[in-house]
Amino acid sequence: MLRIEWKFLILLLVSMAVYSSCVGEKEPEDEGEKTVQLEAQLIEEGVHIATGFKAEGDYKLVIANCTSCHSSQLVTQNRATKEGWEDMIAWMQKTQKLWDLGENHDKIVTYLATYYGPEKKGRRTPLLVEEWYAIE
């Protein structure tokens, strides 16, 4: 479970940037570090940390259109083919007040089917043990 207290946390970098812009200083040696690295924008190991989406393709369209009513977790825990995602979107549009996605529709479906497509698994999967411990 990814549980990150990102919302109140920003980088020292930001405060340094605020401070330096107030007093007119510059940090010419490292332009890259001046980019705002807000936790909300942070991507680590290809994952957009604030939402958990794979930060590939049109993920920003998915954030903008698919996290208004429900959490991104409702998307990222699911797996489906293109057809399956189409069905879910149609159901949300029919019953849950999801708007017409217009020109973004196909991009969103493609992103979902590409990064959240079905995985091959049998009728039982291997048990996943996060941490072995001693039974007293």
């Binding site: 946390l9 909300a40 920003k60 009728r123 039982r124």
Partner: protein, 441 residues
């Protein structure tokens, strides 16, 4: 990367805004307000990012003053679910859906703070208990009556039962092809005690016509879309189930008020049936002369194919049947999966078993992937529709990796399957044997 990590520290967003609000806007969101009106967003990127952080479109973005801290940042909550154990696994934080790791269900009476949460909508924020009312009406009710919560408590006899509540989608994560929805593993189940009045006593006081076939509920949670007039979920049960002695209109759990996330201050409880029938934040019950037709009664919701279908089949709505009693199932609640045990020592495994409207007749455990089974000691339920505790002492022949499997058999001889049972489009009713991992070292 290392240099960046070293520089990172935590400062509060309030602090940043208190220093230079417009700078903060720029830095946090790439936001630059219109220089004349000092409102709105000059670049759409800033708006989209802020919207995504807030978790919603900022509808009146054009009027949003520059330098304003979006209040949504403070409303969004990363802390554990109110009133709930921090070790619950959150599948979805909006609406809240969280399940209970099996080892937290080891007590025969499920503590209120570990009972799973399955919300379809947003719970009421401010509950005024003194003003809470329950109305009974409908075409098959002889009259319409409204009771305050206090009147319900004063008018009808109180009953307390321990009742098993399980989400119809518990176990969905194992279906293949995958089924849409919250990917519950094993933890959308629990068995606390519930206190309230019998639904049948209230229905009889109102009067039920002879043509009544179903009851439906309405609660006052809000739809996730924000539309105040949209009903989140309104399901129910056939009149026969409604009239059972254990079917309650409940205000209490384990001797306390209901937890906020489990329907405070009033809800229905139908033990052994999909928990979605047990409406939360209950304000109205309708007595129907036909199958209730509220949201999530029809379509594909809480339904499975009337006849078995191959995995991945297209099933039309008219081929789907409503789930009623839940199937036989069990959990290993002690030890927690992943235990290392010294060779030569025996292990007392414990668990729970339940069977919808039925009782559990036997529980067996296996340490050899189902090749052989050992009968467990099984306790009686404290009352009808409560789960039963079981226990077995295991010894392991040699060092290595083992899985402990549990398999319950109900009073009609139905057994849990060792593999995931029949595929269905929405991934309901997975009652495959629970498995835990043990290593002998």
């Amino acid at each position: 990367m290392n240099a960046k990590k070293k520089k990172r520290t935590e400062i509060g967003i309030s602090e940043l805004y208190s220093k230079e609000p417009e700078q903060a806007d720029q830095l946090l969101w790439g936001r630059q307000a219109d220089p004349i009106t000092r409102r709105g967003f000059l670049q759409k990127g800033g708006l989209m990012l802020m919207g995504s952080v807030l978790g919603g479109k900022i509808v009146f973005a054009d009027h949003m003053p520059g330098g304003l801290i979006p209040i949504g940042l403070f409303e969004q909550d990363d802390t554990p679910i109110p009133g709930k154990h921090p070790d619950l696994v959150v599948l979805n934080d909006r609406p809240v859906n969280a399940e209970t790791p099996a080892h937290l269900l080891n007590e025969s009476l499920t503590p209120a703070d570990v009972l799973f949460v399955r919300n379809n909508g947003i719970p009421p924020v401010e509950v005024k208990v003194d003003e809470w009312t329950l109305t009974i009406e409908g075409e098959s009710a002889l009259s319409t009556k409204t009771y305050t919560l206090q009147e319900l408590k004063n008018t009808f006899k109180h009953y307390t039962y321990q009742l098993t509540l399980e989400c119809g989608g518990n176990g969905r994560s194992e279906f293949n092809p995958p089924a849409k929805g919250n990917q519950w593993t094993t933890g959308a189940v629990g068995c606390p005690s519930w206190t309230g009045v019998r639904l049948k006593d209230v229905l009889n006081a109102v009067g039920v016509k002879s043509d009544a076939v179903y009851i439906g509920y309405y609660g006052n949670d809000r739809h996730v879309s924000g539309d105040p007039d949209k009903v989140v979920i309104s399901r129910g049960v056939p009149i026969g189930k409604a009239m059972e002695e254990e079917s309650l209109i409940a205000w209490g759990m384990n001797g306390q008020d209901l937890p906020a996330m489990n329907g405070y201050p009033l809800r229905l409880v139908f033990g052994g049936w999909p928990a979605s029938t047990s409406g939360k934040w209950l304000t109205k019950i309708v007595v129907r002369n036909k199958e209730h037709d509220g949201p999530k009664m029809g379509g594909m919701s809480y339904r499975v194919p009337c006849k078995p279908v191959p995995p991945g089949a297209k099933v039309t709505e008219d081929e789907m049947c409503i789930i009623e009693s839940m199937p036989v199932k069990s959990l290993v609640t002690y030890p927690k999966s992943g235990g290392l045990l010294k060779a030569g020592r025996s292990l007392a495994v414990k668990g729970k078993a339940w069977a919808g409207d039925l009782s559990v007749r036997e529980v067996h455990v296996s340490i050899d992937f189902g090749a052989s089974w050992q009968k467990a000691t099984l306790s009686q339920a404290v009352n009808r529709l409560a789960w039963q505790s079981w226990e077995a002492t295991l010894s392991f022949p040699e060092k290595g990796y083992y899985e402990v499997w549990a398999r319950a058999t109900d009073s009609q001889g139905n057994m849990q399957p060792m593999i995931v049972p029949g595929w269905n489009p929405k991934g309901y009713l997975n009652n495959a044997c629970h498995r835990i991992a043990i290593k002998i070292v």
